[in-house]
Each structure stands twice: as structure tokens, then as C-alpha cells.
Amino acid sequence: MATMNSDDTKRRKRGRRSPLASVALVLTGLLITGGAYALMTAASPANADVNMASAQSISQGKKLFAANCATCHGLNLAGTSSGPSLIGVGAAAVDFQVGTGRMPLAQDAPQAEVKPPVFDETQTLQMAAYVASISPGPGIPASSNLTLTGDATKGAELFRINCAMCHNVAGAGGALTEGKYAPNLMKTTPAHIYEAMLTGPQNMPVFNDANITPQEKQDIITALKVQNQAAGVGGFDLGSLGPVAEGLFLWIFGLGAIVAFTVWLTAKAN
């Protein structure tokens, strides 16, 4: 490279012709798309800029509701033969059911499945605003109740006593009757956990604020999330499913590897 020291070459090695240009370009592109994706997906309901009380949100919500929900829940929220009444459910239930993708329902199944949400945050909140305006009920929790600053010890104890019999002590989920189940909680957002306790969706009982106070709800959320972070202490957690996963792993991979070694040790040289 010592021979290439003319001005022309120098200029070419700088600017958009620099060998690092393409790397920088790809990096910038990745940062922008990744950043935008993170911004869009990480935005919690409280961050979305929707005024829940404004007439505009409510009228937008009303339109969305009429187009997407009224077939089953009725135009006046009173329910029909194919869907329950929404009287008294409030904004939290809408945010939970629509925000986790459970509603609109995909099919008539034992219970509504979690799936990629059909509506974005704004639309979800507009529908929540509309429903809350007609049938007031538990509201969307304040973001101050969702920070992971609760008492994890107390939360874990509350979780073991109130939740573990269906959701499993590690939050891995569990079976209920007739094909229903308590879902895995490991990837559920703090807001959705809070709203589920507040509204008791599907087969879940309602844990209202007199039963489990907002502070205790925050403790439970803190415990679940801290426990998730600590799950890797002993290595891969095998789905936190307990002895069944451990036994299968041992038989298939542990004993499998050892049998492979025995075959190798007794193989005859060809």
C-alpha cells in the first residue's frame, strides 16, 4: 500500500468510498430498524399517547368496537348469544384481552389463546376508552404500580399461596379441566399480569384490590420478574418444568451419551 499515496487515492479511501463505509451503512441501518422495532414493541400502554377521557379517543374506540367486537358482544355491550356482556368490565379487561391478542377470538376453543395482537397500542387504548366510558370498571394500572420495586420475598410467598396451584410455582403454567389451562407467565408484561389479577380473565378468579392490594400486586410482579432473571443460576432451566423435564433430559441426553460411549469403547477396530 506504500505506493498508493497520491491525493486521489487518499480521497477515495475516505468518505463513502472508505472500506468501512459499507460496514457503517449496515450498522446504521440495523440500529435504525432495531431501534424502531424496540421502540414499537417496548412501548407500554401507559406510554402510548392516548387521552383515555377525550371524546376523540372514545369515538375512535366506538368505531373500532362496532367493526370488530360488536358482532359477539353487541353494539350496546350487552352481549349476544355468541359472546358475554361487557357491562362493568372497564378498561383493564379490554387492554388485557386485546393487548395479549386473546381478543378478537380466533376460534371457538376451550379458552382464548395468546397470539400476536391484531390492534396496535393506540387502537387498543381507544377501544378501552370507549368500553370504560359506557361500562366503568377496573382501569388500566398506573405505571407507578408496574415498576419492579416491590418486595420480592412477600410477592413470591403471595404467588405460592394464591397463584402457584394453577400457574406452577415457577410460573411455567399448568393444566386445568376440559382442555383449559393456566398460561405460562414468564414472558407476560407487568401490565398484563396486573390486569389479569384485577379482572380475572377466562378461568382466573378476580383478585380485587381489597383481596390483594395494589402494593401486593406489585410485589407479585416483582417476584415473578426477579425469579425469571435468576432462573439461569444453575444453567439452562429446561423450561422450569421440574422433574419430568429433568427425567426426560437424563434418559435421552445423559444416558444416551453414555450408551454412545459404551458402543464406542467396545467397537472393534476395522
Binding site: A164, A175, G242, G247, W251, V259
Partner: protein
């Protein structure tokens, strides 16, 4: 034993450091041998021959996992406190800080989070325990399906089976020690099973737990069993098991030169001593890797035991799964809810058939498996010694019975994870249970017939190969116009393997000296017919002769 003449002539005038040949090694071995006579043992034992086959190393895996368990278990006892005294947790795991728990749980957490290498050793101990029971299971399946339990090894089968049960007991007592929520739920089930015994159940429960469940005594008691009585019993039975292996010599598969009266293989010294030593480190390495990379029994997630919470998805370790499955499959009412109740009270005594029936069925299953060598010997009436292991296909009756037993166990085992099957395959738990309830009775029957047919078909194929050789796929036209496919004859070594097996026929009952046919003989004839009615006879030398001239 011949003693070598003493080479030392006592001579007080000779210098004290009279040198002998062989250097330090020679001196050391002479020193030891002259005082212990060990050369005789080394000569005899070192020349012991073992045949080479991968399936003969499975029992070794169990032995090595036990060694790993002893080593890691000793480490754990340095730090574990087997006490149910209430303490307040103040260790480094945040989500449990300030919680009341037993000293046992606290010390188990202390081992996991504060003792250097403690979590690794705990996980290695637990993985090795799972491997211990699993390798015993696989080893037993090998022994069963190759008929290596036949005379003179029936007693050793029984000893091995006792080891299997002791291993399960070791596992269960160890699983309960940390006093975490998961194992506490398991103990609660055991307490319930004990209570289920009519009349004396409650008394026995109070005796075992030192009062009402959970009490404050059980962890200490299980600890004594876990580290004192049970390991001593396991060691004693392992010693007995190995003495019998040496006395009986190892079985071998049929092959060129291998007969019922010899053992062909390699000597312990130097071949097997090196191989087995290396294999120990391989097993240790595999278990270490599992302990290092895969969580087992995360008690910090489960939390301390408290009788009120019960977690969804509570299961025992895999080897107790079949018992848990039996309890899950037992219906509360015969004929669905509202049918005949399986738990009822007569004169102030509760009869819990929903617990007693599964316990009795499991007990019967265990006794039948344990006594199988004696049952089969009674059916065949074969009093000969057998040192050549069967190929499973050559004993279709036994292989089919074994397959049925394995299926029965597998259904019970699957039932222990009925809830996980339901959630992971999107099924309803009721239908999973119902299907498994029916499978418990029907699947073994199906497995029996399918296995028997497969064995007979494989035997037919072997017979075909011995008599007519392999199809070569080469079509030749003869001068007369006839087309034939050339068959490659099987070589003599291979043929040896294919034709040497025992031939049994259904028993012909004859009156005894008193001119009567006892009921036991009639029963034996029925079972024997069931076992041997469908059979393929080994190719005889006359048939071979004929085939050769063909």
C-alpha cells in the same frame, strides 16, 4: 496357594541394605506381597476374562454413578443441616430474604448460593442420582431380555432388584431433604398413602412423622436413612452382587468358539482395568457437564415448604413417577362420578380403595418382576446352567412378556406427567387420563402380541438365511433356460450365531408315580403351552446338510 521359598537367608553379618533386583518397584511389590500374599489375588483376579459388548457396560455405569454420588454426597453433608428448626433466611438470594423457613432449606440454599462450588456439587449429586437409577433400569432390561438371569444367576437378579428398590429409596429420601415446596408436596402424598392403610394408617403416620404431618422430625429421620442406613445397604448389596458376578463368570453372546463352558474376551489386567478406569472418568465427565450446564431441582424457585400452597405440575423424580402415575390413574368412583365410591366408611373405619388398589397393584408388579427368574424356570422346567445370553428374538414368549411389562410401566410413567402432556400437546387432561386408564390394560396386551409376532418373524428370517443364504440380487439364466437367483451362503461364524439357541416345547403332562396329575402340573402345562406353542425351531444339522446339497 503355593508359597515361594523365602529368599532371605538370615545373615547378621551381611549389610542391612542388601539390594534385590527390580529397583524400588520390585522392592515395594515384594514388601507388600510378603506381608499380604496379594500376588495370588492379583494373578487370579487379573487373569479373569470378561467378554466385550456395549450392553455389558451398563451395570458399570450404575456403579460409577454411585461412586459419584458418594463423593458429592460427602461434600454436601459438610454443609447441610438436617433440622426443621424455624430460621429466617438471610442469604444472598433476594426473593427469599426475610422469609421463615427450616434450617434444612436454609442450608440447602446456603450450599447453592454461598458455598464455593456448592451448586455445582448439588446438581452433580442430583443428576448422578437420576443416572444411577436410570442405568440400573437399563441394565435390568438388558439382563431380562437376554435371559442372563437364568440358572445359576437367579439370586443375583433378586439382589440386583433389591438394589433397584434401595436406589429408589435413596432417591426419594434425598429428594425430600431440602424441605422445599416441591418435595414437601411429595411427602404429603406419602403421608396420605400411609394414612390410607385401614385401621393402623393414622397411627403409622404419627409414628413416622413424629406427630401430625409435617411435624418437626421427618427431615432428620430421612437424613439418617439417606446417609447412613441406605448407603450401607446399597454398598453391601453391590459387594454381594459383584462377588456373584465373579463367581458365576460373565455371560456372553453366542459366537464362534463361545460355548456354555468358556468365556472369551479380554483379561481384567491390563485391558479391563484400563478400560473401566477410563470409562469411570467418561461417566464422571458426562455427569459433571450436566451439573454445570443444566439446572436440576431449583429449590430457590420452589420456596420453602408450607402445607398450604400446592404447585401445579408437581411431580416426583422420574423413578417414583410410576407410583405417582398409578395414583393419578385410579378413579375415585368406578363408572365415573356417582358410581361405586372407592373410598367409604364402615363402622367408623375409612377404607381408601383409591389408594390401596394402586399400592397393591404396584406391589404385585414389583414382586412378579423380582420373582421372574423363578417363574420362568418353573415354566420351562430347565435345570441346566446357562452362560450364553439369548438373543431376545429366540425367546419370543419371554421377550413379549417383557415388552408387555415395559409398556405397563411406561403407561404409569406417562400418567405421572398427565398434566404436562395435556398442556404441551393442547389436550384436555380428562381425555389424557381416560386414554391412559384404558391403555394401562390394553397397551400391554397389544405390545405382547406385536412383540411376539416380530420375534417369530425375525426367527423365520434367520432360519431362511441359514438354510438358503442371502439374496444376492444376481439373476442367472441356466443353459436349460431356467432363471435362478444366486444366493450367497452365510459364512460359518455368522451361522454359529444364528443357529445356537435353546429349544423349548410345550410341556407334555404325564401322571406321576401315584398315577395322578397334580393341579400344579396342569397349571404348568397351560402356562408352558402359552409360552412355547408358537415357536420356530433352530436349524438342525440334518437340515443344514440337506440345504447344502440342495
Amino acid at each position: 496357594m503355593t508359597t515361594a521359598p523365602d529368599t532371605y537367608n538370615y545373615d547378621p553379618t551381611a549389610p542391612a541394605d542388601r539390594r534385590q533386583s527390580g529397583g524400588v518397584t520390585g522392592w515395594a511389590s515384594r514388601y507388600v506381597d510378603e506381608r499380604t500374599g496379594i500376588s495370588y489375588v492379583v494373578k487370579e483376579f487379573g487373569r479373569k476374562i470378561f467378554p466385550d459388548h456395549w450392553s455389558f457396560m451398563l451395570g458399570e455405569v450404575a456403579l460409577y454413578s454411585f461412586v459419584i454420588i458418594l463423593l458429592t454426597g460427602t461434600f454436601l453433608t459438610f454443609f447441610f443441616q438436617a433440622s426443621m428448626a424455624q430460621v429466617t433466611y438471610d442469604g444472598s438470594y433476594g426473593p427469599l430474604k426475610g422469609l421463615d423457613m427450616s434450617a434444612a432449606m436454609q442450608s440447602a440454599l446456603h450450599i447453592s448460593f454461598e458455598i464455593r462450588g456448592g451448586l455445582l456439587i448439588r446438581q452433580v449429586h442430583h443428576w448422578a442420582a437420576l443416572l444411577f437409577v436410570a442405568s440400573i433400569g437399563l441394565h435390568m432390561l438388558r439382563i431380562f431380555f437376554t435371559g442372563a438371569f437364568r440358572k445359576p444367576r437367579e439370586l443375583n437378579w433378586t439382589i440386583g432388584f433389591v438394589l433397584f428398590i434401595l436406589a429408589m429409596a435413596e432417591g426419594f429420601t434425598g429428594y425430600s431433604l431440602p424441605d422445599d415446596l416441591l418435595s414437601g408436596n411429595g411427602l404429603r402424598i406419602i403421608a396420605g398413602m400411609v394414612q390410607g392403610i385401614p385401621f393402623v394408617g393414622s397411627w403409622i403416620e404419627w409414628l413416622v412423622f413424629g406427630g401430625q404431618f409435617p411435624g418437626t422430625a421427618i427431615v432428620g429421620r430421612l437424613y439418617t436413612l439417606h446417609i447412613l442406613l441406605l448407603p450401607a445397604a446399597v454398598l453391601a448389596f453391590i459387594a454381594l452382587h459383584l462377588v456373584f458376578v465373579v463367581t458365576h463368570k460373565h455371560t456372553q453372546y453366542a459366537g464362534p468358539g463361545r460355548t456354555n463352558d468358556n468365556v472369551i474376551g479380554y483379561p481384567i489386567l491390563p485391558v479391563y482395568a484400563a478400560k473401566a478406569g477410563g470409562f469411570f472418568f467418561i461417566v464422571f465427565g458426562v455427569v459433571m457437564l450436566m451439573g454445570a450446564f443444566f439446572t436440576i431441582n431449583p429449590i430457590w424457585t420452589y420456596g420453602p415448604y408450607d402445607p398450604s400452597p400446592v404447585s401445579a405440575g408437581t411431580q416426583p423424580d422420574w423413578y417414583i413417577g410410576f407410583a405417582d402415575g398409578a395414583l393419578r390413574l385410579m378413579p375415585g368412583w368406578l363408572g365415573g362420578p356417582g358410581g361405586i365410591p372407592m373410598e367409604f366408611t364402615i363402622l367408623n373405619t375409612t377404607y381408601s380403595l383409591n389408594i390401596l388398589i394402586p399400592v397393591l397393584v404396584l406391589g404385585l408388579f414389583i414382586v412378579v418382576v423380582m420373582a421372574y427368574p423363578f417363574i420362568e424356570a418353573w415354566i420351562t422346567g430347565d435345570k441346566r446352567e446357562h452362560h450364553i445370553a439369548d438373543r431376545p428374538r429366540n425367546m419370543p414368549g419371554r421377550t413379549a412378556v417383557g415388552a408387555a411389562g415395559v409398556t405397563f410401566y411406561a403407561v404409569l410413567w406417562a400418567a405421572a406427567s398427565s398434566d404436562l402432556i395435556a398442556t404441551h400437546f393442547m389436550l384436555s387432561i380428562e381425555s389424557v387420563i381416560t386414554i391412559l386408564q384404558f391403555s394401562l390394560f390394553l397397551a400391554p396386551v397389544l405390545a405382547y402380541f406385536v412383540t411376539k409376532r416380530i420375534c417369530l418373524a425375525l426367527q423365520k428370517k434367520d432360519r431362511q438365511i441359514v438354510l438358503h443364504g442371502y439374496e444376492s440380487g444376481r439373476i442367472v439364466r441356466l443353459p436349460g433356460g431356467e432363471y435362478i437367483e444366486v444366493h450367497e451362503p452365510v459364512d460359518e461364524y455368522e451361522r454359529w450365531k444364528l443357529v445356537s439357541f435353546n429349544e423349548y416345547e410345550p410341556l407334555m403332562i404325564r401322571p406321576n408315580a401315584a398315577g395322578r396329575i397334580p393341579v400344579t402340573e396342569r397349571a404348568r402345562a397351560v402356562v408352558s403351552r402359552w409360552f412355547f406353542e408358537d415357536r420356530i425351531e433352530p436349524v438342525s444339522s440334518t437340515e443344514l446338510e440337506v440345504a447344502h446339497h440342495h
